[in-house]
């Protein structure tokens, strides 16, 4: 029998553990990853010749980062690993890749999508100024290049990453002007029963927050961001917000890192024609999957934060679980005891993730209240007022329709950064539930590809 062709997209915690399970079953999967080194975003490795220790880079997660890196390095010679490779399309059971100017189409029997997550961003007036970063971007600058995004940085948004990145900046000696959290303290109290599902992560979070406060950084809860101050030439020079008492305050800074937790990178699942369903808890459309990671399309499996935002630890478990599901579907023997225990692990993290969503809710009303002169779609420079005017003129109430008429979500990120907020704004303006706005259809290429692709000269 010809060897089964397994393709894994992504070499973070989910992709690494999935590859490991395939190798253990005697197979040689192809691992395609956009990164230069395996590890993904969370366990991103530093560039060659950088020598910071793991404890410095990954803090409380140093041991886990080390374990994931070691696991990958141990199978490195037994997999077909292709770093710096973009999967730009999927069709007829082939993935289409681009790297440099090269391209290829690879057939698969099983496709494991371990595509990870990006920041879920809420637009705020002024977020187009130079010096505005996502939390993930701010973390990459520090983790990869050991640089800060500014001399005096405000962290604004909500979610665990807000505190993690702020504490990493404090730890690195950067000047953190403030941490502005849109979620109120009461939400955390409400979330406590679910958060206790994984006490160790909860405790890590408490410690991070304490470290930030000990460093003298003001932490405001229950804020409403008003504006990132700045100008087009010199960039960010401050942040204006309303505190929990409704009083307006300004803080001077030259950089802002913002985000509201994460959103899964689901475009490849979309191009693979997987079915999606609306998740009312996170107010996002997510690819459907069974408990082990099987998507609605046979032979396609989803794992890690690319499927559901359950965190890096869960990604390791769901990566293995999805690989075992693929192996079982290909007729290979799988230990049912292992599968059952992994399912239990993922369920625990899912409970914890529910707690996080409760503790750090997506402030959908903020999108609805975005002033007309605030830029909504940065790629295409479309303001909230532009979108509202288009809706009034054309009656568009569906995400793709609004995109076609207004260009919101039509740029190089294809709505990955503005789409969720745009949907909230449309829903509020039209007076319909956000799920009725629908979801932006993904189109190839997932990320831009060069017209010179495949040019032999």
């Amino acid at each position: 029998m010809a060897e089964q062709r397994i393709i894994i997209v992504g070499a973070g915690p989910a992709g690494t553990r999935a590859a490991q399970a395939c190798v253990a079953a005697g197979l040689q999967p192809i691992v395609l990853d956009e990164g230069r080194h395996a590890g993904g975003q969370i366990y991103r490795r530093q560039p060659d010749n950088f020598t910071r220790p793991y404890t410095k880079l990954y803090g409380t997660e140093a041991d886990r980062a080390q374990a994931v890196h070691d696991a990958f390095d141990a199978i490195r010679d037994r997999i077909d690993y292709r770093p710096e490779t973009l999967v730009w399309n999927i069709a007829d059971r082939h993935v289409w890749t681009a790297s440099g100017t090269g391209q290829t189409a690879l057939p698969f029997d099983a496709l494991l999508l371990c595509t990870g997550a990006t920041d879920r961003l809420m637009p705020v007036k002024g977020w187009q100024y130079a010096g505005s970063y996502s939390l993930g971007g701010a973390q990459v600058a520090l983790k990869s290049q050991a640089v800060s995004i500014g001399h005096r940085v405000v962290f604004m948004g909500s979610g665990p990453l807000l505190y993690l990145v702020a504490s990493q900046y404090v730890e690195a000696g950067a000047a953190v002007a403030a941490v502005l959290d849109t979620s109120p303290f009461s939400a955390r109290v409400k979330a406590l029963p679910d958060l206790l599902a994984v006490p160790s992560i909860l405790w890590n979070g408490v410690k991070l927050t304490q470290a930030i406060k000990r460093a003298g950084v003001p932490v405001h809860l229950g804020v409403t961001p008003v504006e990132i101050l700045g100008d087009p030439d010199t960039g960010v020079n401050g942040v204006r917000f309303r505190d929990s008492g409704g009083k307006e305050q300004s803080i001077a800074c030259d950089a802002v890192a913002m985000g509201h937790h994460l959103r899964p990178e689901t475009q490849l699942a979309d191009l693979a024609r997987c079915a999606f369903a609306f998740d009312s808890h996170t107010r996002q459309w997510l690819p459907e999957r069974d408990g082990d990671g099987r998507a609605s399309v046979a032979g396609v499996y989803l794992a890690g934060d690319g499927a559901r935002i359950l965190g890096a630890r869960s990604a390791e478990a769901s990566g293995t679980l999805a690989a075992l599901a693929a192996l079982a579907d290909l007729g290979l023997p799988v230990d049912k005891g292992v599968t059952a225990s992994l399912r239990g692990e993922v369920a625990t993290y899912a409970k914890f993730a529910r707690g996080l969503a409760t503790a750090f809710p997506w402030p959908s009303a903020q999108a609805a209240a975005l002033p007309d002169d605030a830029v909504l779609c940065r790629c295409e420079g479309v303001s909230a007022g532009d979108l509202r005017a288009v809706m009034r003129e054309t009656g568009a109430q569906e995400a793709n329709r609004a995109k076609a008429f207004s260009r919101v979500g039509m740029g190089r990120c294809q709505g990955r950064y503005c789409g969720l907020a745009a949907a909230e704004l449309i829903a509020a303006e039209a007076g319909i539930p956000v799920d009725q706005v629908g979801r932006l259809r993904g189109q190839a290429p997932v990320k831009p590809i060069n017209i010179g692709i495949g040019d032999e000269k």
Binding site: A91, Q414, Q443, P448, I451, G454
Partner: protein, 377 residues
């Protein structure tokens, strides 16, 4: 009783929407029925060429009529559909020098129909259009052609028709149409019925399903255009650009929109799925298209494409639409099957169909588009 009107139009693309607008201009009441949303398939996903040159000579009167409408589209529609009369250049490659003769021949005939074309080669061509690659031999330039935004056009016609009193029902899929006595009764999937003495079918790739109900099946095939768009770059390329060639793979074209993005189209068309209302771009077709674009304009090879798309187009075996009255049923009219070339003539089709319905005739030559040409025996 559900909507009774003078005319029912089935199919809310550019043809149906513009026909609705011009019928209102004749004071005729109209109900326009659309399965999905206005202008979402062929009308909304095509390249956006407002190009007369290259069309069959017999089609130029219709194309000229359409050009006049495009020119006054802003006043007519009260909306900007991004129409730019920035010219159209059609070129041939060195390996097919015989096409220069075809260009000259076409230009001579087109001139008699009121379309002025300027033939360019050598330095004259390269001075005017420095982006062409070394394979390009000669070109035919039409200064009075241009391009517009397909995503905006059909919906703008529909809104203008609506403002003048046309009744439009979106999300209304028609499953049955028959003539009972003097009236057509049209039934939607949701059970609603509509009645009118005149029925106009502008249902694109779905046209055959309805014409068959009146004993006039046509050999229509649905396919999807192969479209891409680059990131925005400084606005520098004014005309729409295309290749004249007998090889489908080589038939690429591009245009730059005022925002700066360059829209790429053409080369091999892909499959489309009318039952699912989806068409997908085949990855290999994208790669072939990009390769041909590099040949046509090598400098574009440095840019990135940020998105591809397709839609559902209806193709006839002779590439000519089905347009005009039914051969079996009085009061029944067709305008569908525009074979990937309907965008420019669309408003002219709407105006002409409205004229035929309102006055019983037109000066526009309609013979090549008769549905009867597909009748057996």
């Amino acid at each position: 009783m559900n909507g009774a009107s003078d005319v029912i139009i089935v199919g809310g693309g550019l043809m149906g929407s513009s026909a609705a607008l011009f019928l209102r201009g004749h004071g005729i009441s109209v109900t326009l029925l659309e399965t999905d949303l206005i202008g979402r398939q062929a009308s909304g996903t095509n390249f956006g060429n407002v190009r007369r040159q290259g069309r069959p000579i017999h089609q130029l009167p219709l194309a000229n009529r359409a050009s006049a409408i495009w020119r006054r589209s802003r006043e007519l529609l009260g909306a900007d559909v991004e129409y730019l009369q920035s010219g159209h250049i059609r070129v041939c490659y060195r390996e097919r020098p015989e096409l220069v003769g075809s260009m000259e021949d076409y230009a001579a005939k087109a001139r008699l129909e009121g379309l002025d074309l300027e033939l360019l080669s050598g330095n004259a061509l390269r001075d005017k259009f420095p982006f062409f690659g070394p394979d390009v031999l000669a070109g035919s330039y039409s200064a009075m052609d241009g391009h517009a935004n397909p995503r905006l056009a059909a919906p703008a016609f529909a809104r203008a028709a609506q403002k003048l009193g046309a009744i439009i029902h979106e999300n209304t899929k028609i499953v049955d149409a028959q003539k009972v006595g003097e009236d057509f009764i049209v039934t939607a999937a949701n059970g609603r019925t509509f009645r009118a003495p005149i029925l106009l079918i502008t249902a694109g790739a779905w046209g055959n399903a309805l014409s068959s109900q009146f004993g006039e099946p046509v050999p229509i095939v649905s396919r999807g255009p192969n479209m891409s768009v680059t990131e925005p770059v400084p606005y520098a390329i004014l005309p729409a650009v295309g290749v004249m060639t007998p090889i489908e793979e080589e038939t690429v074209y591009f245009r730059q929109v005022a925002r700066g993005n360059i829209v790429l189209g053409g080369s091999t068309r892909g499959p489309s799925f009318p039952d699912q209302y989806r068409a997908y771009v085949e990855p290999q077709n994208t790669l072939t298209q990009l390769q041909q674009i590099r040949r046509l304009a090598p400098a574009l090879g440095k840019l990135n494409i940020i998105r591809v798309w397709s839609g559902i187009e209806g193709y006839m075996p002779d590439s000519q639409p089905v347009m005009g009255p039914s051969a079996t049923t009085s009061g029944l009219y067709y305008a569908f099957g525009f074979s990937g070339s309907g965008f420019q003539i669309g408003p002219g089709v709407g105006e002409t169909m409205a004229e035929i319905i309102a006055t019983g005739g037109t000066d526009i030559p309609m013979e090549p588009y008769r549905i009867g040409r597909f009748a057996k025996g």
